[in-house]
């Protein structure tokens, strides 16, 4: 048996992406194999959907077609961690928690903390996933310093490099971030790292309603405090809780937590984050949305959410996750999008029960650069073989 057949198997119901069952699943183990697989698929005119840990497959729209599921979890090597340079090179299939564990041994971390279980680096990049600490470390676009991608025709291309500072050539890593596999497959990633802060202190403040967090998060952002995260957890029509996380040296987190209590006019101090911190809100029966808007609009954004919505907001950054009751979502989503618009806001569907999903516009309006995006797609994937239909505007 050749390597190429060992890595192939027939697709089954468990492999479905947005309800589309692939004919075949291929799990290559090297970048060269990824290239071979894609070249062959292109020759046969077969469509390809790249996947990693499959924890965020619902974040993009269902594909128009998925002949081949390209499972990248076989590319699982941490290639090079240079602690002195605070950089790491790791393949796309490496699981984020595995990488963090390895980096932790050297007292370092990758500043990304999306909560989805089993997420791989390639998936985190392709879905542009982030968590509470984006306030401190930013997101993939701020941390990814190099990338290896494989295009639809099998071309292997690199951009960026292994150094933190580098402006040679176009930064393809940016274009592949959040592209959901529609431009090609992410094969390897290079990151800038941060030291693990030695101490942590948390301030938790109970609020009568979510909107009360608006002015408080503005006050925090305009203060000299440097929290790693400011999380708002609650229900659109009920009580809420604001969690402010400080991570630094002990002297600093103690002093800052004290100052935060004074600034917020209350709050309990503790050494750890409460249960549920950083998790996406709601359950499988809800419609989960990611909202992004100019950060000071938090209060008006939560005001526009329908009753019964569970919310987890990265309050100081302008990104929130909202779980709407499924029966309300179809009607509420267009209204919510209209309410977000004045704040440059958008709402993207992350998950919905199957019967509701088809009645929702997954991405919403993409603005006046959609034609340009289409031209980018046409250049990278002229035959529309990579995850066709999954992206904005049906790209």
């Amino acid at each position: 048996m050749t390597a190429a057949t060992e890595i192939r198997r027939a697709g089954g119901a468990d492999d479905a992406v947005g309800g589309v069952v692939p004919q075949e699943v291929v799990r290559p183990a090297t970048v060269d194999q990824v290239s071979e697989v894609l070249r062959a698929a292109a020759a046969d005119g077969r469509t390809v959907v790249p996947v990693g840990g499959r924890s965020k497959l619902t974040w993009a729209a269902p594909p128009d077609s998925a002949d081949l599921l390209l499972d990248l979890t076989g590319l699982d090597r941490i290639v090079e961690h240079v602690a002195g340079d605070l950089t790491v090179v790791a393949e796309a299939g490496v699981r984020l928690p595995d990488l963090q564990a390895r980096l932790g041994e050297a007292g370092q971390l990758l500043g990304l903390d999306p909560p989805e279980d089993g997420a791989t680096l390639g998936g985190v990049v392709s879905a542009n996933a982030s968590g509470p600490r984006r306030l401190r470390y930013g997101t993939t676009r701020d941390l990814l310093i190099g990338i290896t991608v494989v295009l639809a025709d099998g071309t292997v291309a690199h951009a960026g490099g292994k150094v933190v500072k580098n402006v040679a050539g176009y930064d393809l890593g940016k274009v592949f971030t959040g592209a959901h596999g529609t431009l090609g497959a992410v094969a390897s990633t290079t990151w800038r790292l941060h030291p693990v802060p030695p101490a942590r202190r948390v301030v938790t403040l109970e609020l009568p309603d979510v909107a009360a967090a608006g002015p408080l998060s503005i006050a925090l952002a305009r203060s000299t405090l440097t929290p790693s995260a400011v999380e708002l957890i609650g229900r659109a029509d009920g009580a809420a809780r604001l969690v402010v996380l400080f991570e630094s040296i002990a002297e600093s987190v103690d002093a800052q937590a004290g100052a935060a209590v004074a600034l917020l006019g209350g709050g309990e101090e503790s050494d750890d984050v409460p249960e549920g911190f950083g998790r996406r809100p709601g359950g499988v029966d809800d419609v989960l949305l990611r909202l992004a808007y100019a950060p000071a609009a938090l209060a008006s954004v939560v005001g526009a959410l329908p009753a019964g919505t569970a919310l987890a907001a990265h309050a100081a950054t302008g990104v929130s996750y909202a779980a709407l009751p499924a029966d309300a979502a179809v009607e509420a989503l267009p209204r919510l999008r209209a309410a977000l618009a004045p704040h440059d806001g958008t709402a993207v569907l992350l998950r919905a029960p199957d019967d509701v999903r088809d009645r929702l516009d997954h991405w919403g309006p993409a603005g006046d650069s959609l034609d340009l995006m289409r031209r980018v797609k046409e250049r990278f994937d002229p035959e529309r073989q990579m995850s066709p239909g999954r992206f904005v505007g049906g790209l």
Binding site: D85, L86, T224, T226, A294, G367
Partner: protein, 495 residues
């Protein structure tokens, strides 16, 4: 079919100049060589090209009109901000239009609650921080040229600065851009929100060196001014000790706001130029700055001081106030120009290496310079391994300019073989495009140029920069081939 004589380039540009005058106004279109010569180079004066036409845009509409007319005539255009670029990025095309943006200088009101501000591209970098200061906000990217360089130029180059170690580069601080694409279409990339559905074309545009279009408006992220700032100047008798200090600081889990290093030659130059009073006899100095919450800065500053002592610092000077801090920075920020005091001519290079390779790369660089009998002064962002070797030479000595150019090129190749990059902040531009083929494979470069083809299929936006060879874009998918340039320029009839 009758063949028409190909009109000469000057006929084409003369017709274009006519149209430009009619559209953006006679007073904003320069064609007289004595005037257009003013724009023959940017901060890298060894490349000079006089543009056929200069347009002094004063509004977004002027930019749109100019770009659209260039597109119709298939005449190349080059955007120019303040012209301080150090890689020949704003070097004009002799048969094209130089589009000067420095008159687009209005700043919007600071949006303090959202910590952002929207500005026109000709706005000077430092003005942003000046406007933000009353709100205790600041614009983080601080290139040494910040008194004169433009935000548009910063965005095009993804400019860095001393404080990028902690705060990141221009790309980490631009939220949105209004861009005139090379066919005159206006698009908005990013915006006031932190995320938008779709490809991150804003991220791709930043650092694209004017090859993907012209930015006409930029929304910038502002940072809260930190509670405390502390700065120290440390003198060493060896480069290894200075480099070792940097490694130990990073190893201790401290992320300073800035760590800058200068070697003996650079110190000598700065001393001669601005009298900054750096420690006498130092073979290397570090300028180390920490910022953040008071207690944190104080504790970590003490720790850094101990590290420096352990690494045999012979003098540690701590800035007592803003005036002393400014003096410490003055030596560093004036270093490029200061080298003029100790050498008739010099090349400013910009390369990056992994920080851990600092001592060996510096030693190798010295060997290479000695072999050529040339001197290299080093000023650099030590925290992120971004070197600025200044290769000193004398024009008057036959062949020395050539030798210096060769040495500068060899240093870049050393950066590549050390796992680094040919540019950390000055861009590829005209100067380093041939070196791109050493850092990237042909497949890498072709793939990057797919983006170029999507934005600029005719290749008229700053052509000949960044890439060693242009990629032919072929037909635009789904679009009929355009009319012949001669016809578009209104110069020929197709029978």
């Amino acid at each position: 079919m009758t063949a028409v004589a190909e009109p000469s380039v000057s006929d084409l540009t003369a017709a274009l100049a006519e149209r430009l005058r009619a559209t953006v106004g006679t007073e904003r279109v320069l064609t007289d060589r004595t005037q257009t010569r003013t724009y023959e180079c940017d901060g890298l004066a060894n490349f000079k090209v006089t543009p056929a036409i200069v347009v002094l845009a004063e509004s977004r509409q002027h930019v749109v009109d100019t770009v659209r007319l260039c597109s119709q005539a298939r005449v190349p255009f080059v955007a120019r901000g303040s012209g301080t670029g150090l890689s020949g990025g704003a070097l004009p095309s002799s048969d094209g239009v130089l589009l000067v943006l420095s008159r687009l200088r209005s700043l919007g009101a600071v949006d303090a609650d959202n910590r952002q501000v929207t500005v026109e591209p000709g706005v000077i970098n430092l003005w942003v921080t000046r406007d933000a200061a009353p709100y205790d906000l600041a614009y983080a990217p601080d290139p040494s040229s910040q008194l004169v360089c433009s935000i548009g130029g910063n965005v095009a180059e993804n400019a860095g600065g001393a404080h990028c170690l902690k705060y990141g580069f221009t790309v980490n601080h631009v939220l949105g851009a209004e861009v005139v694409l090379p066919d005159g279409e206006v698009v908005h990339l990013g915006g006031r929100a932190p995320e938008h559905p779709g490809y991150d074309l804003l991220g791709a545009f930043i650092g694209s060196e004017g090859t993907l279009g012209v930015a006409t408006e930029l929304t910038l992220r502002l940072i809260r001014v930190p509670e405390a700032v502390q700065t120290m100047l440390v003198g060493y008798r060896s480069v290894e000790d200075a480099a070792g200090t940097v490694s130990d600081i990073i190893g201790a889990g401290i992320v300073p706001a800035a760590v800058e290093m200068m070697d003996a030659l650079a110190i000598e130059a700065a001393e001669a130029a601005v009298n900054c009073g750096y420690p006498a006899g130092a073979v290397a100095v570090l300028v180390i700055e920490l910022d953040g919450p008071q207690v944190e800065v104080e504790a970590q500053f003490r720790q850094v001081e101990e590290i420096a002592q352990r690494r045999n610092a012979f003098e540690v000077r701590i800035a007592a106030d803003d005036a002393e801090r400014a003096l410490m920075w003055k030596g560093r920020k004036s270093a490029f120009a200061a080298v003029g005091r100790i050498s008739p001519s010099y090349y400013v290079q910009d390369g990056v290496i992994p920080r851990t390779k600092l001592p060996e790369v510096l030693a190798e660089m010295k060997r290479m310079a000695d072999a050529k009998g040339l001197r290299v002064a080093n000023v650099f962002h030590a925290g992120d391994g971004n070197l600025h070797p200044l290769v000193l030479f004398d024009d008057a000595v036959e062949g020395q300019a050539h030798e210096a150019e060769e040495l500068a090129g060899a240093i870049l190749e050393l950066c590549i073989t050390s796992g680094g990059s040919i540019t950390g902040e000055h861009g590829v531009g005209q100067e380093k495009r041939m070196k791109m083929a050493k850092q990237f494979t042909p497949e890498d470069l072709d793939t990057m140029q797919l983006l170029r083809c999507a934005f600029d299929p005719d290749g008229i936006a700053n052509p000949g920069k960044v890439f060693p060879t242009p990629r032919l874009c072929g037909e635009r998918p789904g679009v009929r081939k355009g009319e012949h340039p001669v016809q578009a320029a209104g110069l020929g009839e197709v029978f």
